[in-house]
Symmetry: C2
Subunit: 418 residues, 2 copies
């Protein structure tokens, strides 16, 4: 039974990640024969998880192999993404399509658990209310910009929002009231997994994903698995000390961390733009940043990058300086992880786009030739949606693990309003 | 059949790592019943790999469970260890006991492949010549102080010895002429695995092992497996850049690498001791170091540590300075890997013993509280033998993977002189 269940999950995972596949392709990928694919598909069709249909756009001699397509409109998760400046919720269909989305800018001030949960739950309820009749909610997933305790979604530490030991997963599940748990992961961890499944990391089970979201997070896959470490708190790339001599202050209380040297505050400060001192954002002074009226966030980062390209010397110098530190961090990660690919996501997608020469020069200088000889540098293919798609995949995990679990059937229709 | 073979290997691995175990203990560890243990043991006894005997030193009511003991005197590997200053070869019995050993100091000058292989092969032949009648050579393993290509034991890069792309494994196997391949691994990788199996890392599948051998190497286990990365070149901890501002020169050509700041040259230079400038050791000046007559190597490191404890202010300052950099490196590794334990091996065992306060202070300052809350700091339990025991385990790997492989039987008696 276990093997049969796991085969059902494997087939569903293939169409979830790759989209419609013919029975022949499925058989080849899974190493099973056609009759097994047929039997597995029939069960998944009966459960309403996939459907079979003739292939589109291909004419061939002989009877075409039917394609197995995920029921993307019918089977969905609600995915949440808590970034420093923005809250997002989306209905994501089996197959990874974003079917519906709500988002709201968030002030960097007033980031208490209750407020954030209330806003997210409101968005979630709106999405659920708009669901077509007959849909099935397979799960709930959330990405958060901080360190997450595996198992219960407790935020152990979220320096950008000032959170320590906040029961985010449990509170969001309670506020949603769907009778479903919310699976929570660190945003960069989830972004790494999403890029591995569907983005710039496809086919590269050893990869490093760097995510810029005011600070800098990391998600590192070792042999296709997220590097968790002893208790699930590995990959804290952003707090790798790269500048011990005259480092910029970091929200974590240290100085010279990779995120202090390459994050939004560093870039804006280096470019001489206002309202960007992280010390003013820490502790009592936290409210000062947003209120000062200075441009902050992703748009501010993009403005520096754009101005640098347009000939602004201060902006260009800032991009080069940040690129130098980013390159040092990446060189260290290449030495430690010998990754097949390093992926720049979130704001770092923009920063790397402008600072690639500095990054590459530092890698050439500080990474061992043997460690870097096959390492590719890429920008996120999922771009702004990497963390949200990763959260959705977290929500789908239980379904993909055991698609026909009897304990899930009641859940599948829970919370659906007609 | 596969499952049966793998059970034979599992049983043999248990007694190899833990020493004599009762049938009852084996059954419990393997989750199989007594009759299965009995059957597996009988096959291994017949193959001459284990024997059964009454337990020693325990008196109990009822018939005592026989203990299964590895045939440590009879089944052996030859293990080699190429450190910067010393070549070692040992006959190591099943169970991990060092039964016989040869070693020779090595000059830092004149480290060409041919010379090293000739010396090692000579030691190996001496060890083989002294083997008791009826013994079985199960394999050959070697630890090397550099980056090793998996599969063929090619040294891709060994900066301390100036090696690039040297066919070490193949040449050593050829020189030994036993008809057996030599499995080669990086010394710190093998030390990490040995400490996990038998030392300070027992029970900690997520660990970081740091090995001081002039330079600094690292072996990192993630979920019980060595972090290899895309091509097997992960764990290059020693070339993590920690001091980008005014770093000491490193043999790799960069400056401010962890090994440049915490290795032997850094400690001796900081203590004001002579003949220790790595730039003089690089390129044409390489011969200068040994010839200058200055004390170098492990004894020189221990002398600084001893003098620091004895009140020598220069030595104490040097230890503190190196401890600071070591702490920064360890803090970074804790942030990245969330290890259960960090183990200091080789020369770093001595350095950490003296500089623990600096190391701990840096970890407290630069590692995330959530990442470090459960991380323990330990010194190597296998001490000077960690890398040699790791090399032996590499030599035993094929036997433990498939103890009764028909293709191995001829090998088992190969090369044995009576």
């Amino acid at each position: 039974m276990h093997s049969h269940r796991s085969s059902l999950g494997t087939l569903l995972h293939h169409v979830h990640v790759s989209g419609p596949l013919s029975r022949a392709e499925l058989g080849e990928r899974m190493g099973v024969n056609r009759s097994t694919v047929l039997a597995l598909t029939s069960e998944l069709v009966a459960a309403g998880l996939v459907r079979e249909e003739p292939p589109t756009g291909v004419t061939r001699a002989g009877r075409p192999s039917l394609v197995v397509r995920p029921e993307s409109e019918r089977v969905f998760v609600i995915a949440f993404d808590v970034a420093v400046d923005r809250l997002t919720a989306a209905r994501v269909g089996l197959g990874g399509q974003i079917l519906d989305r709500r988002s709201a800018a968030r002030s960097r001030a007033g980031a208490d658990l209750e407020t954030v949960v209330r806003q997210l739950a409101g968005m979630g309820r709106e999405l659920i209310a708009a669901v077509p009749a007959g849909s099935m909610c397979a799960g709930l997933g959330a990405a958060y910009c901080g360190m997450i305790r595996p198992g219960d979604g407790m935020v152990r530490y979220g320096p950008e929002m000032g959170w320590v030991d906040q029961a985010f997963g449990a509170e969001l599940a309670r506020a949603l009231g769907l009778g479903l748990p919310v699976a929570v992961g660190n945003e960069a961890h989830l972004g790494a997994l999403a890029e591995f499944e569907r983005g710039a990391g496809r086919g590269s089970p050893d990869l490093v994903y760097l995510h810029g979201d005011v600070g800098v997070g990391g998600g590192i896959l070792v042999g296709g698995k997220l590097l968790g470490g002893d208790a699930g708190y590995g990959c804290e790339v952003g707090h790798m000390l790269v500048n011990p001599t005259d480092g910029r202050p970091c929200l974590c209380g240290s100085r010279g961390c990779l995120e202090a040297e390459t994050g939004e505050y560093a870039l804006l400060a280096a470019a001489g733009r206002a309202g960007t001192d992280p010390e003013r954002n820490a502790g009592l002074g936290r409210d000062a940043v947003g209120q000062a009226g200075a441009e902050i966030g992703w748009e501010a980062v993009r403005a520096v990058v754009r101005d640098a390209a347009g000939g602004d010397r201060d902006a260009a110098a800032a991009v080069a300086e940040i690129g130098d530190w980013l390159g040092i961090g990446v060189a260290n990660l290449i030495n430690l992880f010998n990754p097949a690919v390093v992926i720049f996501g979130g704001m770092l997608r923009d920063v790397y786009g402008a600072a690639a020469p500095q990054v590459s020069a530092r890698i050439a200088r500080h990474a061992m030739p043997v460690s870097r000889e096959r390492a590719k540098l890429r920008v996120s293919e999922l771009a702004g949606d990497a963390t949200l798609i990763g959260a959705a995949d977290l929500g789908f995990a239980a379904l993909l693990n055991d698609p026909l679990s009897p304990s899930r059937t009641p859940r599948l229709t829970a919370g659906i309003r007609r």
